[in-house]
Symmetry: C2
Subunit: 431 residues, 2 copies
């Protein structure tokens, strides 16, 4: 394409309305106290999936479930024998999270497939949309469950992970959702990576950068990995808060506070040197069964998460955490027990996809920016299995993983337009 | 008394066994997952009270309940028209606490009264034992409920305090326990302070000092007061942990960690200058409904408690807390909301009581130390109403407010001996 052949948007007001209706329908069936709650591999997730599947069927598309119980939407009459472009994202949400995180990418894919079918355009490659399950680590302590299962990457240990509220194992939830747990437990790939020519995921930005830079569309350049301890514990000794002098205390909460402040100082120093890093302790709590204002806390549990685009930074900072803990243990008479360590490796975005997305934004005259993804995405799973992966970010105010996320539907339609053009208009495949 | 007239212990092995049986009987009816749980103004507290009342009745003592539903044990045939010596302590416990905290003082008083009756000694003053309710602040967020009620010191607001587990108001619990809530709500004193010549409370030490100093008995010299916020909150902004860079975060947990570390520094500095002070944040927690390892915590609740023997120190340190908070709010974009402030004033121990207890320890040749009480006690309520109050501490390993408290019964019997002698042997009353 060029100035002689400017790219013309294919979506119209009716498509925008359909998107709004789909978002609202899924929101309604998953509304929580505030925001939405769609637990991984839950009945609510399945209900959301069914809303999407029905819309797909109404648009004349074929739907099925893969062996990990993810939703697959395909166009009837695909070109045979060629590797496909896959689009999509996930259907679950964090507890009391926002409606668009994940869902936007599934709806966008569905709109693209429906449009391609309605327009009857000739496809060079088969297209499919995935509505993945279990991307959010909030429920089973590990992210990307749906896409990991696809590639045979869940261990038997993972299948025993407990659901945060019920304590029931992941295997049970997967079974109930219709997944083939035996194959998954055996580590069998449920899909042939060679049959996928590329993965494209549209997702809301989960940070504030695109709002600040006034860009409705973002071309993702890389995906941060993370190193996590979901349930660490600091143990000291309980005691009467009035009767134990400072020098005899083993206060677990003060010890944790010191750890966080030491990490904070190091983090600040690294940031000022341009190192990509964020540190979060999102879950902190003393044991409610032992709560008393007059009790020195003998124990506090907490989560710890380190994210970076560099695996080297992750591991180096992790070593620093251990060193700081050793110092605090000595000084304060406590013990840190970190429990299981979960690593999600950083992932590279395919350069050709990124270049193609930039060209399309330019041709459509959409303002866009290049942006690294601070959050992890299923796209990382595909990328780390050798499938060229690209991501389109949509501007979104108030972040995500909270009920206040705010995506403008006009921005969403621009991103969907880019997605459509990326999988239909360009002759060369990136692979 | 003097060398010619050495003091002889009155208690024997049978008394020691009775004490052991009473402790065990109460422990049994209040056993929890670990330790004991006797909630304030609960049926378990009442059951503990009934065990004591039955033992008192078996010993030929008179029992009744006062208008605050506390247990009162009296000796029949008391000398008329004279102010009485009151002994006792409380029957409730913290959740999953130890069996002796409070209960020891009630059992000791009962043993003294039973012994005095059995020996048929002439009393110069009436004697009574109180089994007080609701001393532990763990249940309704405020301590000394039973003794406060006695002196008309509970406000209508206090009566609306919610029980930590059920959320039901204190008034309802009091009513159910048999208290005259109308009189209590009216702030009517339920007892004539002039009729009480002195209050003596035996209690386990709740800190490690007597174990370290190898003293079975302690003569208490003063009682720390405290300043508390039971349910403070630090509010920032939630966000995706991977997508929000450091400079845009409003992380409530890091903000709280910084507050605790700033207080820690100041506390350390004050301690090194000899200022009496302890600082505790025994209850800390992010909201489990919003827990996700990938969510920047937008909110964390916590308790804050400052204790000192000096009211001046309490207020000065409190001002410092507010100043530190203001700094952190500015730097980290958070807001601290401390909620209700509860002050329990420090109390003075009666000098004559303390001197008498020392003389008795000397005459009995018991090793003892002078010791300030770091924890608050009902004795403070009596002292702050002009009643000469004394306290006897019993050596106790592993502190209190935890299931591991460990009082030696031999130490307990020594303290009980001191209590008996204090209320029977000396001719001069401290008032």
């Amino acid at each position: 394409m060029g100035p002689d052949n400017p790219m013309r948007p294919v979506f119209d007001r009716a498509d925008r309305e359909q998107a709004a209706e789909l978002f609202e329908a899924v929101r309604r069936i998953s509304a929580a106290r505030v925001g939405v709650t769609r637990p991984s591999f839950s009945e609510v997730e399945t209900a959301a999936m069914n809303v999407i599947a029905e819309a797909a069927a109404s648009a004349g598309l074929a739907t099925r479930h893969d062996a990990a119980a993810n939703l697959v939407i395909e166009m009837p009459g695909q070109p045979a024998g060629k590797a496909a472009y896959w689009m999509g994202s996930h259907l679950d949400s964090v507890p009391e999270g926002g409606n668009y995180d994940g869902l936007a990418g599934v709806v966008a894919g569905l709109l693209c497939l429906a449009k391609a079918r309605r327009l009857g355009i000739a496809l060079r490659r088969p297209l499919a949309v995935l509505g993945l399950r279990g991307e959010e680590s909030a429920w089973f302590g590990k992210p990307y469950l749906g896409s990991y299962a696809l590639f045979g990457k869940l261990s038997p240990h993972d299948l025993e992970r407990r659901q945060r509220d019920t304590g029931r194992p992941l295997a049970e939830y997967m079974e109930k959702a219709g997944a083939d747990v035996r194959r998954i437990a055996a580590g069998e790939p449920l899909v042939d990576a060679q049959s996928i020519a590329g993965w494209l995921e549209l997702h809301i930005e989960q940070g504030p950068i695109m709002v600040a830079r006034e860009a409705p569309v973002g071309v993702v350049t890389g995906i941060r990995g993370n190193l996590r301890h979901l349930s660490a514990v600091c143990r000291g000794a309980a005691g009467h808060s009035g009767a134990v002098p400072r020098w005899l205390r083993k206060d677990a909460v003060f010890a944790l506070a010191e750890l966080l402040m030491r990490l904070d100082e190091n983090w600040q120093a690294l940031n000022s040197r341009g190192v990509d890093l964020v540190v979060t302790s999102g879950i902190v709590g003393t044991d409610p069964r032992q709560h008393s204002i007059s009790r020195i806390p003998g124990e506090v549990s907490f989560s710890l998460e380190i994210r970076s685009q560099s695996l080297e930074t992750l591991e180096a900072f992790y070593q620093l955490v251990l060193v700081e803990c050793a110092g605090i243990e000595k000084a304060r008479g406590v013990k840190f027990d970190f429990g299981e360590r979960v690593l999600s490796e950083p992932a590279l975005i395919d350069r050709e996809w990124a270049a193609r997305l930039r060209r399309i934004c330019g041709a459509l005259q959409y303002p866009y920016i290049d942006i690294p993804s601070g959050a992890g995405h299923d796209a990382a799973t595909f990328a780390n299995h050798g499938i060229p992966a690209g991501m389109i970010f949509i501007r979104n105010d108030n972040g995500s993983h909270n009920p206040d996320e705010k995506m403008d539907l006009d921005d969403f339609m621009m991103g969907t337009e880019v997605l459509y053009q990326a999988v239909t208009s360009e002759p060369e495949a990136p692979r």
